[in-house]
């Protein structure tokens, strides 16, 4: 039963402890990547209650990522996407240390992707497999020096698929060309992977013409529309697209949607229930406070808030962005 893809000393059968995989060397909590493990960044991160994330890709020996002419990224079997969630004790002073809460693995095999969830111990020496999720209190000091606390929730394995779903199949979300294709100023990670033989980009691949999500956190470069659409794509579009679990609503917030009605403009809700907040339309141009979209982003009630999973706190910076976007919309 443990005979799954065994490559380069990594046995991809699920393991009880994160340390059993050997993704990191030395002190586990330092997250020093082992050979074949490398860090990556996304342009538009999903908001997760202000948790920070350290992301890595593991590729089996001798294998590389591929990218076809329509620029869809593919991973060889045995690949693992590794995402560590943590809070700095004091976000203004990261040097004062951090607490890692959970590590999520997406493992690719011949049947597709599967998720596994590891919860870190208080000593920060290891993380243990947990299929049914977990919940525990967390405190930290945010960038403005404010003390904050939250009952942190690590998802169960079904909840993982609640977002990572395309026509009912499990898919990765952040590992797309759009998310990985950074601004040239940042030193494009796709190109540096190409140089190190980690990815095969199609001939003639051009970072400036390839799809790219705006980094919504940066006021420049990029206009408000690009930033807002990138924010909505990353935070809502994984469900709200024609192949995602929220397609029942008929509201599509993925970056390629061009029909204003399907984006929610003048669109009456279908099954929002009290999620409508007594407002009539998804988006009312010029009027963020009459738009259901804003109401659901602002709420912390589990029956109202959006996204349904992975967020308890309102994301103030995201709200400001979407508010401005709707206000300036004609």
């Amino acid at each position: 039963m443990r005979s799954q893809a065994r490559t380069a000393g990594f046995d991809m059968a699920p393991k009880m402890r994160l340390s059993d995989y050997g993704f990191f060397t030395g002190d586990l909590s330092a997250l020093h990547p082992a050979p074949r493990v490398f860090a990556y960044e996304v342009n538009a991160p999903l908001f997760s209650d202000y948790a920070e994330k350290a992301r890595f890709i593991f590729l089996p020996e001798g294998e590389k990522m591929t990218c076809n002419d329509s620029l869809s990224l593919d991973f060889p079997n045995g690949s693992v996407l590794i995402k560590n969630f943590f809070y700095f004790h004091d976000a203004e002073h990261p040097e004062n240390g951090r607490r890692i809460l959970e590590t999520r693995l997406l493992i690719k095999d011949e049947k597709g992707w599967k998720a596994l969830e590891y919860i870190w111990n208080d000593e920060q020496t290891d993380a243990v497999l947990e299929v049914a999720g977990a919940s525990f209190p967390v405190q930290w000091t945010d960038v403005s020096g404010k003390k904050r606390s939250i009952q942190y929730i690590a998802p169960n394995l079904n909840q993982c698929k609640g977002c990572h779903s395309y026509d009912g199949r499990f898919i990765p979300l952040g590992a797309t060309i759009r998310q990985l294709n950074q601004y040239p100023a940042a030193g494009n990670q796709l190109l540096s992977w190409q140089e190190s033989g980690l990815i095969d980009l199609p001939s003639g691949f051009d970072v400036s013409s390839a799809p790219r999500l705006a980094d919504y956190r940066q006021a420049s470069p990029g206009n408000i529309d690009d930033r807002a659409r990138a924010y909505l794509d990353a935070n809502c579009g994984h469900c709200h697209n024609p192949h995602g679990p929220a397609n029942t609503s008929g509201m599509f917030l993925n970056i390629t949607e061009r029909n204003p009605e399907r984006l929610g403009v003048g669109k009456a809700p279908v099954a929002a229930g009290r999620g409508s907040g007594d407002r009539k339309f998804g988006i009312v141009p010029g009027k963020p406070n009459e738009s259901i979209l804003l109401y659901r982003m602002e709420s912390d009630d589990p029956g109202i808030r959006m996204p349904e999973l992975g967020r308890q706190l309102p994301h103030q910076e995201g709200l400001d962005l979407i508010k401005t976007w709707i206000k300036e919309m004609k």
Partner: protein
């Protein structure tokens, strides 16, 4: 997910379960994640307090069974996570039976993309007085196929108690819907049989709707028979923005923009505003921008229903209700057609082709009005003759 998880070595699974917190919620959720095809997962008797959605995904032939509606109560009063009580997704052959589920923050049971699904002997309710902060739907299959709801009870939904959306091949029978905004709602759903149910004290008893902007564009082939649809006069407590928020208190049956609907042999009694309404989407005054959507009802057959005798005062708490009062006083007709016609309906010799017609025949106390809503409600006609026809194909297709 199941298959991949089966790759977990057995010792490892055992450890994972043993190291889990011993609470029952975690135990049930773990069972749902690890369930094997054909498994029956039993909820014990007693009140079970839950903080998060119980979620079953990508499984085959699984039964979730309580010890009885009066014995097993799944309470989500203290829910902090998830928008539903129970959620079932991407599955087939699922049976949910013999329990009560109550007070979730969103919907009570939502099932999406499930083929072959039975809800049986389930009570799904919000406790206390019906209020707009209650969740939307009690039982909510959406994008499902072959759905059977039998002997289920739904109480207090701020949208619809028993709601079937964007599904195909549906039976709703011997159920009981009370004090919801909509008792039973069939929406953008094809081939639905709704029979021998009770819809009592809702705002609207049974609604058959086709709405725009949805992936499944068109419902239809819906039959509603031998139901008792009585005293659906409850105040409308839906949050604004929701389509059911426009349903007047005192609605028995409402057919909105759907085609091929047969309503017969029902007792439709003491619904004070609109015992049976046949309307187009335009009556909602919402804009229609979906070019693939047909906002008009067609192929409707209302026959052999029994309506109450005597007079009824329509609601004043709804624009349409108030209008009915202005037009008819205390004597609102039972069967109301908004008269807004599809200009593109195929017509021969000035008459709409038979399969598109609205037929109304042989209803006891079945008074009628064509409201001429397209003519600003001027020239309302009480003449039933233009609607004296049958849809034989519907009758032969039972």
């Amino acid at each position: 997910m199941l298959k991949q998880l089966l790759l977990l070595p057995v010792w490892l699974l055992a450890t994972a379960i043993l190291t889990a917190q011993p609470d029952i919620e975690k135990q049930i959720q773990t069972q749902l994640i690890l369930a094997e095809d054909g498994e029956v997962i039993e909820f014990p008797a007693g009140k079970i307090d839950l903080s998060n959605t119980l979620w079953l995904d990508a499984k085959k032939n699984i039964t979730l069974r309580g010890a009885g509606q009066d014995k097993t109560v799944l309470s989500f009063k203290n829910q902090t996570q998830g928008a539903e009580g129970i959620k079932v997704t991407n599955a087939s052959g699922i049976v949910l039976e013999h329990f009560t589920i109550e007070d979730s923050k969103g919907d009570l049971i939502k099932t999406q993309s499930v083929k072959g699904l039975i809800f049986r002997d389930i009570t799904a309710r919000w406790s206390g007085k019906p209020k707009k902060t209650n969740g939307s739907y009690a039982l909510y299959p959406v994008q499902c196929q072959n759905v059977r709801m039998e002997r289920c009870t739904a109480i207090g939904a701020s949208d619809a108690g028993l709601y079937i959306g964007q599904s195909d091949s549906v039976w709703v029978t011997r159920c009981y819907a009370k004090n919801n905004v909509a008792g039973i709602e069939i929406e953008n759903t094809t081939n639905a049989w709704v029979y021998e149910n009770y819809a009592l004290y809702n705002t609207g008893g049974i609604l058959v709707f086709d709405l725009p902007d949805l992936p499944k564009k068109r419902g239809g082939h819906v039959k509603v028979w031998k139901n008792k649809i009585i005293e659906n006069n409850y105040r409308n407590f839906a949050p604004k923005g929701n389509i059911v928020g426009k349903v007047p208190p005192g609605t028995g049956v409402m057919i909105l923009a759907t085609n091929d609907v047969e309503v017969f042999d029902n007792y439709i009694m003491d619904n004070k505003t609109a015992s049976t309404a046949i309307v187009s989407y335009y009556i909602t005054e919402n804009p229609v921008k979906d070019e693939h959507y047909n906002p008009y009802p067609s192929g409707i057959y209302i026959h052999d229903n029994v309506y109450s005798e005597g007079k009824r005062m329509p609601t004043w708490k709804n624009k349409l209700g108030f209008l009915f009062w202005l037009k008819f006083g205390r004597n609102v007709p039972h069967i109301l057609y908004d008269g807004i016609q599809d200009p593109e309906n195929p017509v021969r010799d000035g008459v709409v082709l038979p399969e598109y017609r609205i037929c109304i025949r042989n209803n006891e106390n079945g008074t009628f009005a064509n409201l001429k809503a397209d003519k600003k409600f001027k020239g309302i006609s009480r003449d039933l003759k233009p609607y004296d026809c049958t849809h034989d194909s519907m009758e032969s297709n039972r």
